[in-house]
Protein backbone atom coordinates (compact mmCIF):
# COMPACT_ATOMS: atom_id res chain seq x y z
CA UNK A 1 0.00 0.00 0.00
CA UNK A 2 1.20 3.52 -0.57
CA UNK A 3 2.97 4.85 2.50
CA UNK A 4 1.00 8.09 2.50
CA UNK A 5 -2.41 6.37 2.58
CA UNK A 6 -4.77 7.46 5.38
CA UNK A 7 -4.19 4.95 8.20
CA UNK A 8 -7.06 2.71 9.24
CA UNK A 9 -5.97 2.84 12.86
CA UNK A 10 -3.83 5.52 14.35
CA UNK A 11 -2.82 5.29 18.00
CA UNK A 12 -1.03 8.23 19.59
CA UNK A 13 0.55 7.74 23.02
CA UNK A 14 -2.17 5.27 23.97
CA UNK A 15 -1.75 3.87 27.47
CA UNK A 16 -3.79 1.92 30.00
CA UNK A 17 -3.45 1.85 33.76
CA UNK A 18 -5.50 -0.40 35.99
CA UNK A 19 -5.18 1.47 39.28
CA UNK A 20 -1.45 1.49 39.94
CA UNK A 21 -0.71 -1.21 37.39
CA UNK A 22 0.64 -0.01 34.07
CA UNK A 23 -0.74 -2.43 31.48
CA UNK A 24 0.18 -0.38 28.41
CA UNK A 25 2.76 2.39 28.46
CA UNK A 26 2.46 4.89 25.70
CA UNK A 27 2.03 3.33 22.30
CA UNK A 28 2.16 5.20 19.04
CA UNK A 29 1.62 3.27 15.83
CA UNK A 30 -0.61 3.10 12.76
CA UNK A 31 -2.23 0.29 10.84
CA UNK A 32 -2.80 0.80 7.13
CA UNK A 33 -5.89 -0.48 5.31
CA UNK A 34 -5.38 -4.05 4.15
CA UNK A 35 -2.26 -4.66 6.18
CA UNK A 36 -1.37 -8.09 7.63
CA UNK A 37 0.21 -7.43 10.98
CA UNK A 38 1.57 -9.71 13.68
CA UNK A 39 1.75 -8.75 17.35
CA UNK A 40 4.09 -10.63 19.65
CA UNK A 41 5.48 -10.21 23.12
CA UNK A 42 6.19 -12.27 26.22
CA UNK A 43 3.35 -13.10 28.62
CA UNK A 44 2.00 -9.98 30.28
CA UNK A 45 3.42 -7.70 27.60
CA UNK A 46 0.01 -6.07 27.05
CA UNK A 47 -0.99 -7.67 23.75
CA UNK A 48 -4.52 -8.53 24.75
CA UNK A 49 -4.92 -5.19 26.55
CA UNK A 50 -3.97 -3.54 23.27
CA UNK A 51 -6.76 -5.48 21.53
CA UNK A 52 -9.17 -4.49 24.29
CA UNK A 53 -8.31 -0.85 23.62
CA UNK A 54 -8.54 -1.25 19.85
CA UNK A 55 -12.02 -2.79 20.14
CA UNK A 56 -13.46 -0.46 22.77
CA UNK A 57 -13.63 -3.10 25.49
CA UNK A 58 -11.18 -1.14 27.64
CA UNK A 59 -10.94 2.65 27.48
CA UNK A 60 -7.36 3.95 27.36
CA UNK A 61 -6.37 6.11 30.31
CA UNK A 62 -4.16 8.25 28.11
CA UNK A 63 -3.64 9.06 24.43
CA UNK A 64 -5.95 9.20 21.43
CA UNK A 65 -7.12 6.42 19.16
CA UNK A 66 -8.48 7.11 15.69
CA UNK A 67 -10.21 4.47 13.58
CA UNK A 68 -11.18 5.07 9.99
CA UNK A 69 -10.65 8.81 10.41
CA UNK A 70 -12.80 9.18 13.55
CA UNK A 71 -11.58 9.69 17.11
CA UNK A 72 -13.03 6.72 19.01
CA UNK A 73 -11.03 7.18 22.21
CA UNK A 74 -13.10 5.90 25.13
CA UNK A 75 -16.16 4.95 23.05
CA UNK A 76 -18.07 1.68 23.43
CA UNK A 77 -17.41 -1.61 21.64
CA UNK A 78 -20.48 -1.27 19.41
CA UNK A 79 -19.08 1.98 18.00
CA UNK A 80 -15.81 0.23 17.12
CA UNK A 81 -17.86 -2.56 15.56
CA UNK A 82 -19.85 -0.09 13.48
CA UNK A 83 -16.57 1.54 12.41
CA UNK A 84 -15.35 -1.79 11.12
CA UNK A 85 -13.28 -3.30 13.92
CA UNK A 86 -14.01 -6.95 14.74
CA UNK A 87 -12.17 -9.25 17.08
CA UNK A 88 -11.89 -12.69 18.60
CA UNK A 89 -11.18 -13.42 22.23
CA UNK A 90 -8.26 -15.41 23.58
CA UNK A 91 -10.70 -17.48 25.61
CA UNK A 92 -13.58 -17.87 23.16
CA UNK A 93 -16.70 -15.96 24.16
CA UNK A 94 -19.36 -17.56 22.03
CA UNK A 95 -23.06 -17.65 22.92
CA UNK A 96 -22.82 -21.17 24.24
CA UNK A 97 -26.50 -22.04 24.34
CA UNK A 98 -27.05 -21.02 20.72
CA UNK A 99 -26.18 -22.85 17.54
CA UNK A 100 -22.96 -22.06 15.71
CA UNK A 101 -25.02 -20.66 12.86
CA UNK A 102 -26.94 -18.32 15.16
CA UNK A 103 -23.67 -17.11 16.66
CA UNK A 104 -22.43 -16.06 13.23
CA UNK A 105 -25.80 -14.61 12.22
CA UNK A 106 -25.67 -12.44 15.33
CA UNK A 107 -22.90 -10.18 14.08
CA UNK A 108 -24.31 -10.14 10.56
CA UNK A 109 -27.60 -8.90 11.96
CA UNK A 110 -26.47 -6.34 14.49
CA UNK A 111 -23.45 -4.79 12.79
CA UNK A 112 -25.91 -3.84 10.03
CA UNK A 113 -23.37 -3.77 7.27
CA UNK A 114 -24.94 -6.64 5.38
CA UNK A 115 -28.25 -6.08 3.68
CA UNK A 116 -29.87 -9.25 2.47
CA UNK A 117 -30.11 -12.84 3.56
CA UNK A 118 -28.64 -12.96 7.08
CA UNK A 119 -28.78 -16.73 7.46
CA UNK A 120 -27.31 -17.35 4.02
CA UNK A 121 -24.44 -15.00 4.77
CA UNK A 122 -23.83 -16.69 8.13
CA UNK A 123 -23.85 -20.12 6.49
CA UNK A 124 -21.32 -19.01 3.90
CA UNK A 125 -19.01 -17.70 6.61
CA UNK A 126 -19.31 -20.92 8.60
CA UNK A 127 -18.33 -22.83 5.46
CA UNK A 128 -15.41 -20.48 4.97
CA UNK A 129 -13.90 -21.43 8.36
CA UNK A 130 -14.63 -25.14 7.75
CA UNK A 131 -17.46 -25.32 10.26
CA UNK A 132 -20.17 -25.86 7.66
CA UNK A 133 -21.03 -29.23 9.16
CA UNK A 134 -21.57 -27.74 12.63
CA UNK A 135 -24.20 -25.10 11.87
CA UNK A 136 -26.81 -26.64 14.15
CA UNK A 137 -24.36 -27.65 16.89
CA UNK A 138 -24.57 -25.62 20.08
CA UNK A 139 -21.55 -23.33 20.19
CA UNK A 140 -20.79 -24.37 23.77
CA UNK A 141 -20.50 -28.00 22.66
CA UNK A 142 -17.73 -27.26 20.15
CA UNK A 143 -14.14 -27.93 21.29
CA UNK A 144 -12.10 -24.78 22.05
CA UNK A 145 -10.15 -24.88 18.77
CA UNK A 146 -13.41 -24.93 16.78
CA UNK A 147 -14.84 -22.19 18.98
CA UNK A 148 -11.89 -20.04 17.93
CA UNK A 149 -12.72 -20.66 14.28
CA UNK A 150 -16.34 -19.87 15.08
CA UNK A 151 -15.21 -16.58 16.59
CA UNK A 152 -13.42 -15.72 13.34
CA UNK A 153 -16.65 -16.33 11.44
CA UNK A 154 -18.60 -14.26 14.00
CA UNK A 155 -16.13 -11.41 13.58
CA UNK A 156 -16.27 -11.61 9.78
CA UNK A 157 -20.05 -11.50 10.01
CA UNK A 158 -19.84 -7.89 11.16
CA UNK A 159 -18.19 -6.98 7.84
CA UNK A 160 -14.97 -5.59 9.34
CA UNK A 161 -12.17 -3.58 7.78
CA UNK A 162 -9.86 -4.61 10.60
CA UNK A 163 -9.87 -8.09 12.07
CA UNK A 164 -8.17 -8.61 15.44
CA UNK A 165 -7.20 -12.24 16.06
CA UNK A 166 -6.16 -13.13 19.60
CA UNK A 167 -4.25 -16.44 19.63
CA UNK A 168 -6.60 -18.25 17.29
CA UNK A 169 -3.97 -20.96 16.72
CA UNK A 170 -3.21 -21.58 20.40
CA UNK A 171 -3.12 -25.19 21.49
CA UNK A 172 -3.21 -26.60 17.98
CA UNK A 173 -0.93 -29.21 16.44
CA UNK A 174 1.53 -27.95 13.83
CA UNK A 175 -0.60 -29.22 10.99
CA UNK A 176 -3.74 -27.57 12.38
CA UNK A 177 -1.89 -24.32 13.05
CA UNK A 178 -0.60 -24.38 9.46
CA UNK A 179 -4.17 -24.58 8.25
CA UNK A 180 -5.13 -21.61 10.43
CA UNK A 181 -2.20 -19.60 9.02
CA UNK A 182 -3.30 -20.47 5.50
CA UNK A 183 -6.88 -19.50 6.33
CA UNK A 184 -5.83 -16.14 7.77
CA UNK A 185 -3.69 -15.37 4.71
CA UNK A 186 -6.50 -16.42 2.40
CA UNK A 187 -9.11 -14.33 4.21
CA UNK A 188 -6.76 -11.37 4.20
CA UNK A 189 -6.24 -11.70 0.45
CA UNK A 190 -9.89 -12.40 -0.44
CA UNK A 191 -11.48 -9.71 1.67
CA UNK A 192 -8.75 -7.09 1.38
CA UNK A 193 -9.14 -6.31 5.07
CA UNK A 194 -6.44 -5.44 7.58
CA UNK A 195 -5.64 -8.24 10.01
CA UNK A 196 -3.78 -7.90 13.30
CA UNK A 197 -2.84 -11.26 14.74
CA UNK A 198 -1.53 -11.99 18.22
CA UNK A 199 0.16 -15.35 18.52
CA UNK A 200 2.71 -16.91 20.85
CA UNK A 201 4.21 -18.97 18.06
CA UNK A 202 6.64 -16.32 16.88
CA UNK A 203 8.12 -18.36 14.08
CA UNK A 204 4.77 -19.15 12.53
CA UNK A 205 3.64 -15.56 12.79
CA UNK A 206 6.82 -14.31 11.14
CA UNK A 207 6.25 -16.58 8.20
CA UNK A 208 2.66 -15.35 7.82
CA UNK A 209 2.60 -11.60 8.34
CA UNK A 210 4.14 -8.63 6.54
CA UNK A 211 4.88 -6.53 9.58
CA UNK A 212 5.38 -7.16 13.29
CA UNK A 213 4.78 -5.16 16.43
CA UNK A 214 6.67 -6.36 19.49
CA UNK A 215 5.43 -5.48 22.97
CA UNK A 216 7.31 -5.93 26.22
CA UNK A 217 6.08 -4.80 29.64
CA UNK A 218 3.48 -2.59 27.99
CA UNK A 219 5.92 -0.85 25.66
CA UNK A 220 6.27 -1.08 21.93
CA UNK A 221 9.90 -2.19 21.50
CA UNK A 222 9.94 -2.99 17.79
CA UNK A 223 7.85 -2.30 14.70
CA UNK A 224 8.88 -3.47 11.27
CA UNK A 225 9.33 -6.31 8.80
CA UNK A 226 9.62 -9.76 10.41
CA UNK A 227 13.26 -10.22 9.43
CA UNK A 228 14.27 -6.84 10.85
CA UNK A 229 12.33 -7.46 14.05
CA UNK A 230 13.93 -10.88 14.48
CA UNK A 231 17.36 -9.31 14.36
CA UNK A 232 16.47 -6.51 16.78
CA UNK A 233 18.62 -6.58 19.91
CA UNK A 234 15.77 -5.46 22.20
CA UNK A 235 13.44 -8.14 20.88
CA UNK A 236 16.03 -10.84 21.44
CA UNK A 237 16.64 -9.54 24.95
CA UNK A 238 12.93 -9.42 25.72
CA UNK A 239 12.44 -13.01 24.66
CA UNK A 240 15.61 -14.65 25.87
CA UNK A 241 16.61 -12.40 28.75
CA UNK A 242 19.73 -10.25 28.70
CA UNK A 243 21.75 -12.77 30.70
CA UNK A 244 21.34 -15.52 28.20
CA UNK A 245 23.20 -16.49 25.12
CA UNK A 246 21.75 -14.32 22.34
CA UNK A 247 23.21 -16.12 19.38
CA UNK A 248 20.13 -18.35 19.08
CA UNK A 249 17.90 -18.02 16.08
CA UNK A 250 14.90 -16.05 17.33
CA UNK A 251 12.74 -17.24 14.50
CA UNK A 252 12.45 -20.42 16.54
CA UNK A 253 9.55 -20.55 18.88
CA UNK A 254 10.16 -19.21 22.38
CA UNK A 255 10.27 -21.68 25.27
CA UNK A 256 6.87 -20.63 26.66
CA UNK A 257 5.18 -21.42 23.38
CA UNK A 258 1.99 -23.48 23.40
Amino acid sequence: MPPDAEPLVSAREVGVRFGGLRALGSLTFTIAPGELLGIIGPNGAGKTTLFHVMSGVVAPTQGRLRVDGADLTGLSPQIFCRRGVARTFQTPRVFRASSALDNVAFGVRFARRHSGDVTGRARALLDRVDLGAFGETLAGALPPARQRMLEIAMALGTGPRLLLLDEVAAGLTDAEADRVSALVRALHAELGIAVAWIEHAVGRLMRTVDRMLVLDHGDLIADGAPAAVAADKRVIDAYLGTDQETSQDTSQEPPDDD
Binding site: A86, S98, F106
Partner: protein, 313 residues
Protein backbone atom coordinates in the same frame (compact mmCIF):
# COMPACT_ATOMS: atom_id res chain seq x y z
CA UNK B 1 -50.33 -27.12 17.90
CA UNK B 2 -54.08 -27.12 17.22
CA UNK B 3 -54.80 -28.55 20.68
CA UNK B 4 -52.85 -25.68 22.21
CA UNK B 5 -54.59 -23.15 19.97
CA UNK B 6 -58.03 -24.49 20.92
CA UNK B 7 -57.16 -24.45 24.60
CA UNK B 8 -55.84 -20.90 24.36
CA UNK B 9 -59.01 -19.78 22.58
CA UNK B 10 -61.21 -21.49 25.19
CA UNK B 11 -59.21 -19.93 28.02
CA UNK B 12 -59.45 -16.52 26.38
CA UNK B 13 -63.21 -16.83 25.96
CA UNK B 14 -63.64 -17.95 29.57
CA UNK B 15 -61.54 -15.05 30.81
CA UNK B 16 -63.45 -12.49 28.78
CA UNK B 17 -66.96 -13.71 29.61
CA UNK B 18 -66.32 -14.23 33.32
CA UNK B 19 -67.91 -10.92 34.52
CA UNK B 20 -71.20 -11.99 32.90
CA UNK B 21 -71.82 -14.93 35.22
CA UNK B 22 -69.18 -15.12 37.95
CA UNK B 23 -69.82 -14.23 41.59
CA UNK B 24 -68.16 -11.06 42.91
CA UNK B 25 -65.73 -13.23 44.86
CA UNK B 26 -64.75 -15.30 41.84
CA UNK B 27 -64.41 -12.15 39.75
CA UNK B 28 -62.15 -10.53 42.33
CA UNK B 29 -60.02 -13.66 42.45
CA UNK B 30 -59.80 -13.78 38.66
CA UNK B 31 -58.86 -10.11 38.62
CA UNK B 32 -55.97 -10.81 40.99
CA UNK B 33 -54.86 -13.68 38.75
CA UNK B 34 -54.91 -11.47 35.65
CA UNK B 35 -53.11 -8.66 37.46
CA UNK B 36 -50.24 -10.95 38.39
CA UNK B 37 -50.14 -12.55 34.95
CA UNK B 38 -49.68 -9.04 33.53
CA UNK B 39 -47.14 -7.95 36.14
CA UNK B 40 -45.09 -11.15 36.11
CA UNK B 41 -45.04 -11.47 32.33
CA UNK B 42 -44.08 -7.83 31.79
CA UNK B 43 -41.42 -8.08 34.51
CA UNK B 44 -40.05 -11.17 32.75
CA UNK B 45 -40.01 -9.32 29.45
CA UNK B 46 -37.01 -7.34 30.67
CA UNK B 47 -35.55 -9.30 33.58
CA UNK B 48 -35.92 -12.74 31.98
CA UNK B 49 -33.59 -12.41 29.00
CA UNK B 50 -31.23 -9.79 30.46
CA UNK B 51 -30.98 -11.36 33.95
CA UNK B 52 -31.12 -7.84 35.37
CA UNK B 53 -33.17 -8.14 38.55
CA UNK B 54 -35.45 -5.12 38.52
CA UNK B 55 -36.99 -4.21 41.88
CA UNK B 56 -38.81 -1.10 40.68
CA UNK B 57 -42.20 -2.66 39.86
CA UNK B 58 -43.91 -1.03 42.86
CA UNK B 59 -42.78 2.39 41.71
CA UNK B 60 -44.25 1.88 38.23
CA UNK B 61 -47.44 0.39 39.61
CA UNK B 62 -47.81 3.11 42.24
CA UNK B 63 -47.18 5.94 39.85
CA UNK B 64 -49.82 4.56 37.48
CA UNK B 65 -52.26 4.27 40.36
CA UNK B 66 -51.58 7.82 41.49
CA UNK B 67 -52.11 9.06 37.97
CA UNK B 68 -55.58 7.53 38.01
CA UNK B 69 -56.30 8.99 41.46
CA UNK B 70 -55.40 12.45 40.19
CA UNK B 71 -57.06 12.20 36.80
CA UNK B 72 -60.24 10.24 37.60
CA UNK B 73 -63.26 12.31 36.68
CA UNK B 74 -61.23 14.56 34.36
CA UNK B 75 -59.80 12.14 31.85
CA UNK B 76 -61.67 9.29 30.14
CA UNK B 77 -60.80 5.80 31.39
CA UNK B 78 -58.70 4.62 28.41
CA UNK B 79 -56.61 7.79 28.58
CA UNK B 80 -55.97 7.19 32.27
CA UNK B 81 -54.58 3.75 31.50
CA UNK B 82 -52.46 5.14 28.69
CA UNK B 83 -51.21 7.93 30.94
CA UNK B 84 -50.26 5.37 33.60
CA UNK B 85 -48.27 3.44 31.01
CA UNK B 86 -46.52 6.53 29.68
CA UNK B 87 -45.65 7.98 33.08
CA UNK B 88 -44.24 4.63 34.22
CA UNK B 89 -42.24 4.28 31.00
CA UNK B 90 -40.84 7.78 31.50
CA UNK B 91 -39.87 6.93 35.06
CA UNK B 92 -38.23 3.72 33.80
CA UNK B 93 -36.25 5.73 31.30
CA UNK B 94 -35.00 7.95 34.11
CA UNK B 95 -34.23 5.04 36.45
CA UNK B 96 -32.58 3.23 33.56
CA UNK B 97 -30.39 6.23 32.88
CA UNK B 98 -29.04 5.94 36.41
CA UNK B 99 -28.96 2.18 36.89
CA UNK B 100 -28.63 0.31 33.60
CA UNK B 101 -24.87 0.75 33.59
CA UNK B 102 -24.74 -1.29 36.80
CA UNK B 103 -24.93 -5.03 37.01
CA UNK B 104 -25.98 -7.71 39.41
CA UNK B 105 -26.80 -6.75 42.97
CA UNK B 106 -25.94 -3.08 42.39
CA UNK B 107 -28.66 -2.75 39.78
CA UNK B 108 -31.22 -4.58 41.93
CA UNK B 109 -30.51 -2.54 45.04
CA UNK B 110 -30.48 0.77 43.23
CA UNK B 111 -33.78 0.12 41.44
CA UNK B 112 -35.31 -0.68 44.82
CA UNK B 113 -33.77 2.43 46.39
CA UNK B 114 -34.97 4.65 43.58
CA UNK B 115 -38.52 3.34 43.83
CA UNK B 116 -38.47 4.24 47.52
CA UNK B 117 -37.31 7.72 46.48
CA UNK B 118 -40.28 7.93 44.13
CA UNK B 119 -42.67 6.93 46.92
CA UNK B 120 -41.28 9.58 49.24
CA UNK B 121 -41.28 12.18 46.48
CA UNK B 122 -44.96 11.52 45.80
CA UNK B 123 -45.69 11.76 49.53
CA UNK B 124 -43.81 15.05 49.74
CA UNK B 125 -45.50 16.55 46.70
CA UNK B 126 -48.94 15.48 47.92
CA UNK B 127 -48.29 17.02 51.32
CA UNK B 128 -46.98 20.31 50.01
CA UNK B 129 -49.44 20.72 47.14
CA UNK B 130 -52.73 19.26 48.31
CA UNK B 131 -52.07 19.33 52.05
CA UNK B 132 -53.07 15.70 52.55
CA UNK B 133 -51.38 12.52 51.50
CA UNK B 134 -54.26 10.25 50.58
CA UNK B 135 -56.86 10.62 47.88
CA UNK B 136 -60.46 9.49 47.76
CA UNK B 137 -61.50 8.00 44.44
CA UNK B 138 -64.96 8.96 43.27
CA UNK B 139 -66.59 8.21 39.90
CA UNK B 140 -64.76 4.88 39.91
CA UNK B 141 -65.63 2.52 37.04
CA UNK B 142 -67.51 -0.71 37.74
CA UNK B 143 -65.60 -3.88 38.61
CA UNK B 144 -66.25 -5.52 35.20
CA UNK B 145 -64.68 -2.49 33.48
CA UNK B 146 -61.59 -2.80 35.67
CA UNK B 147 -61.56 -6.54 35.05
CA UNK B 148 -61.69 -6.21 31.28
CA UNK B 149 -59.06 -3.49 31.35
CA UNK B 150 -56.66 -5.63 33.40
CA UNK B 151 -57.43 -8.59 31.12
CA UNK B 152 -56.52 -6.44 28.12
CA UNK B 153 -53.28 -5.33 29.80
CA UNK B 154 -52.37 -8.92 30.67
CA UNK B 155 -53.20 -10.01 27.13
CA UNK B 156 -51.12 -7.20 25.67
CA UNK B 157 -48.23 -8.17 27.98
CA UNK B 158 -48.42 -11.77 26.76
CA UNK B 159 -48.46 -10.74 23.11
CA UNK B 160 -45.64 -8.22 23.62
CA UNK B 161 -43.52 -10.81 25.44
CA UNK B 162 -43.87 -13.19 22.50
CA UNK B 163 -43.23 -10.50 19.89
CA UNK B 164 -40.11 -9.29 21.70
CA UNK B 165 -38.89 -12.83 22.25
CA UNK B 166 -39.08 -13.49 18.52
CA UNK B 167 -37.66 -10.17 17.38
CA UNK B 168 -34.16 -8.76 16.97
CA UNK B 169 -34.73 -6.98 20.28
CA UNK B 170 -35.27 -10.33 22.01
CA UNK B 171 -32.14 -11.79 20.41
CA UNK B 172 -30.13 -8.78 21.56
CA UNK B 173 -31.60 -8.93 25.09
CA UNK B 174 -30.71 -12.59 25.50
CA UNK B 175 -27.20 -11.88 24.26
CA UNK B 176 -26.88 -9.03 26.74
CA UNK B 177 -27.96 -11.43 29.47
CA UNK B 178 -25.37 -13.97 28.40
CA UNK B 179 -22.37 -11.71 27.70
CA UNK B 180 -23.07 -8.03 27.43
CA UNK B 181 -19.58 -7.00 26.33
CA UNK B 182 -19.46 -9.70 23.67
CA UNK B 183 -22.81 -8.59 22.30
CA UNK B 184 -21.46 -5.04 22.08
CA UNK B 185 -18.36 -6.12 20.14
CA UNK B 186 -20.77 -7.65 17.61
CA UNK B 187 -22.70 -4.42 17.13
CA UNK B 188 -25.44 -4.45 19.80
CA UNK B 189 -25.91 -1.22 21.75
CA UNK B 190 -26.59 -2.74 25.19
CA UNK B 191 -27.74 0.51 26.80
CA UNK B 192 -30.32 1.07 24.10
CA UNK B 193 -31.85 -2.40 24.05
CA UNK B 194 -31.92 -2.55 27.85
CA UNK B 195 -33.59 0.86 28.05
CA UNK B 196 -36.23 -0.04 25.46
CA UNK B 197 -37.10 -3.30 27.22
CA UNK B 198 -37.07 -1.72 30.69
CA UNK B 199 -39.46 1.05 29.59
CA UNK B 200 -41.71 -1.43 27.80
CA UNK B 201 -41.84 -3.61 30.89
CA UNK B 202 -42.56 -0.60 33.12
CA UNK B 203 -45.38 0.61 30.87
CA UNK B 204 -47.41 -2.53 31.63
CA UNK B 205 -46.86 -2.19 35.38
CA UNK B 206 -47.92 1.47 35.17
CA UNK B 207 -51.02 0.61 33.16
CA UNK B 208 -51.87 -2.15 35.65
CA UNK B 209 -51.50 0.33 38.52
CA UNK B 210 -53.71 2.83 36.73
CA UNK B 211 -56.37 0.19 36.17
CA UNK B 212 -56.24 -1.23 39.70
CA UNK B 213 -56.38 2.08 41.58
CA UNK B 214 -60.22 2.36 41.67
CA UNK B 215 -60.38 -1.04 43.41
CA UNK B 216 -59.80 0.95 46.58
CA UNK B 217 -61.93 4.00 47.34
CA UNK B 218 -59.01 5.57 49.14
CA UNK B 219 -55.35 5.39 48.18
CA UNK B 220 -52.19 6.76 49.70
CA UNK B 221 -48.52 6.23 48.84
CA UNK B 222 -48.02 3.36 51.27
CA UNK B 223 -50.94 1.41 49.78
CA UNK B 224 -50.07 1.81 46.07
CA UNK B 225 -46.28 1.93 46.35
CA UNK B 226 -46.60 -1.26 48.33
CA UNK B 227 -43.39 -3.35 48.14
CA UNK B 228 -45.58 -6.42 48.50
CA UNK B 229 -46.70 -5.95 44.88
CA UNK B 230 -43.05 -6.06 43.85
CA UNK B 231 -42.26 -9.10 45.99
CA UNK B 232 -45.23 -11.04 44.64
CA UNK B 233 -44.37 -10.13 41.06
CA UNK B 234 -40.73 -11.18 41.39
CA UNK B 235 -41.67 -14.29 43.35
CA UNK B 236 -44.15 -15.37 40.67
CA UNK B 237 -41.74 -14.69 37.85
CA UNK B 238 -38.91 -16.52 39.61
CA UNK B 239 -41.04 -19.51 40.56
CA UNK B 240 -42.37 -19.58 37.03
CA UNK B 241 -39.00 -19.00 35.36
CA UNK B 242 -38.81 -15.65 33.59
CA UNK B 243 -37.13 -16.92 30.44
CA UNK B 244 -40.30 -18.57 29.10
CA UNK B 245 -43.79 -17.22 28.73
CA UNK B 246 -45.77 -20.10 30.21
CA UNK B 247 -43.73 -20.19 33.43
CA UNK B 248 -44.88 -16.85 34.83
CA UNK B 249 -48.43 -17.43 33.59
CA UNK B 250 -48.83 -20.77 35.37
CA UNK B 251 -47.10 -19.40 38.45
CA UNK B 252 -49.32 -16.29 38.51
CA UNK B 253 -52.48 -18.40 38.39
CA UNK B 254 -51.27 -20.93 40.90
CA UNK B 255 -49.85 -18.31 43.20
CA UNK B 256 -52.93 -16.10 43.22
CA UNK B 257 -55.23 -19.03 43.95
CA UNK B 258 -52.90 -20.43 46.58
CA UNK B 259 -52.43 -17.01 48.20
CA UNK B 260 -56.19 -16.57 48.41
CA UNK B 261 -56.71 -20.03 49.85
CA UNK B 262 -53.96 -19.52 52.41
CA UNK B 263 -55.24 -16.09 53.36
CA UNK B 264 -58.70 -17.47 54.02
CA UNK B 265 -57.63 -20.63 55.81
CA UNK B 266 -54.31 -19.81 57.46
CA UNK B 267 -54.30 -16.03 57.84
CA UNK B 268 -51.35 -16.08 60.24
CA UNK B 269 -49.24 -18.54 58.31
CA UNK B 270 -49.96 -17.00 54.93
CA UNK B 271 -46.67 -15.17 54.42
CA UNK B 272 -44.62 -17.92 56.05
CA UNK B 273 -46.11 -20.42 53.62
CA UNK B 274 -45.30 -18.19 50.65
CA UNK B 275 -41.73 -17.79 51.89
CA UNK B 276 -41.39 -21.56 52.17
CA UNK B 277 -42.74 -21.89 48.66
CA UNK B 278 -40.02 -19.58 47.37
CA UNK B 279 -37.29 -21.49 49.21
CA UNK B 280 -38.54 -24.82 47.90
CA UNK B 281 -38.79 -23.58 44.34
CA UNK B 282 -35.28 -22.12 44.43
CA UNK B 283 -33.94 -25.39 45.83
CA UNK B 284 -35.77 -27.79 43.56
CA UNK B 285 -36.66 -25.74 40.48
CA UNK B 286 -33.66 -23.47 39.92
CA UNK B 287 -34.92 -22.50 36.47
CA UNK B 288 -38.51 -22.21 37.71
CA UNK B 289 -41.45 -23.96 36.12
CA UNK B 290 -39.91 -22.96 32.79
CA UNK B 291 -37.14 -25.45 33.57
CA UNK B 292 -39.58 -28.36 33.83
CA UNK B 293 -39.05 -30.26 30.62
CA UNK B 294 -42.50 -31.77 30.13
CA UNK B 295 -44.09 -28.34 30.54
CA UNK B 296 -41.68 -26.94 27.98
CA UNK B 297 -42.43 -29.65 25.47
CA UNK B 298 -46.10 -28.86 25.70
CA UNK B 299 -45.94 -25.09 25.62
CA UNK B 300 -42.88 -24.40 23.51
CA UNK B 301 -42.02 -27.07 20.98
CA UNK B 302 -39.26 -24.87 19.57
CA UNK B 303 -36.91 -23.20 22.03
CA UNK B 304 -36.24 -19.49 21.47
CA UNK B 305 -33.28 -19.04 19.18
CA UNK B 306 -30.67 -16.40 18.69
CA UNK B 307 -32.48 -15.60 15.48
CA UNK B 308 -36.02 -14.32 15.13
CA UNK B 309 -38.43 -16.84 13.68
CA UNK B 310 -40.01 -14.49 11.22
CA UNK B 311 -38.34 -14.16 7.83
CA UNK B 312 -36.69 -10.83 7.36
CA UNK B 313 -37.07 -8.43 4.50
Amino acid sequence: MTARRALAAAAGAAVLTLPLYASPFALALALTCLLYVGLAVSWSLFSGPTRYLSLATSAFFGLGAYGTAVGLGTLPWPLLILAGALVAAALAWLIGLLTLRLRGAYFAVLTFGLSEVVRHAVTYVEKSVSGTVGRVLTDAPEVPTIYWTVAAIAGAALVTFRLVQRSDLGVALRAVGEDEERAATLGVDPRRVKTVAFCLSAAFAGAAGAAMAPRSTYIDPSSVFNPFILFQTVLIAMVGGPSKLHGPVIAALGFSLLAEALRLNLPYLYLIALGLLLILSVLFLPAGLAGVSWLNRWFEPRPPRMQPDAPRR
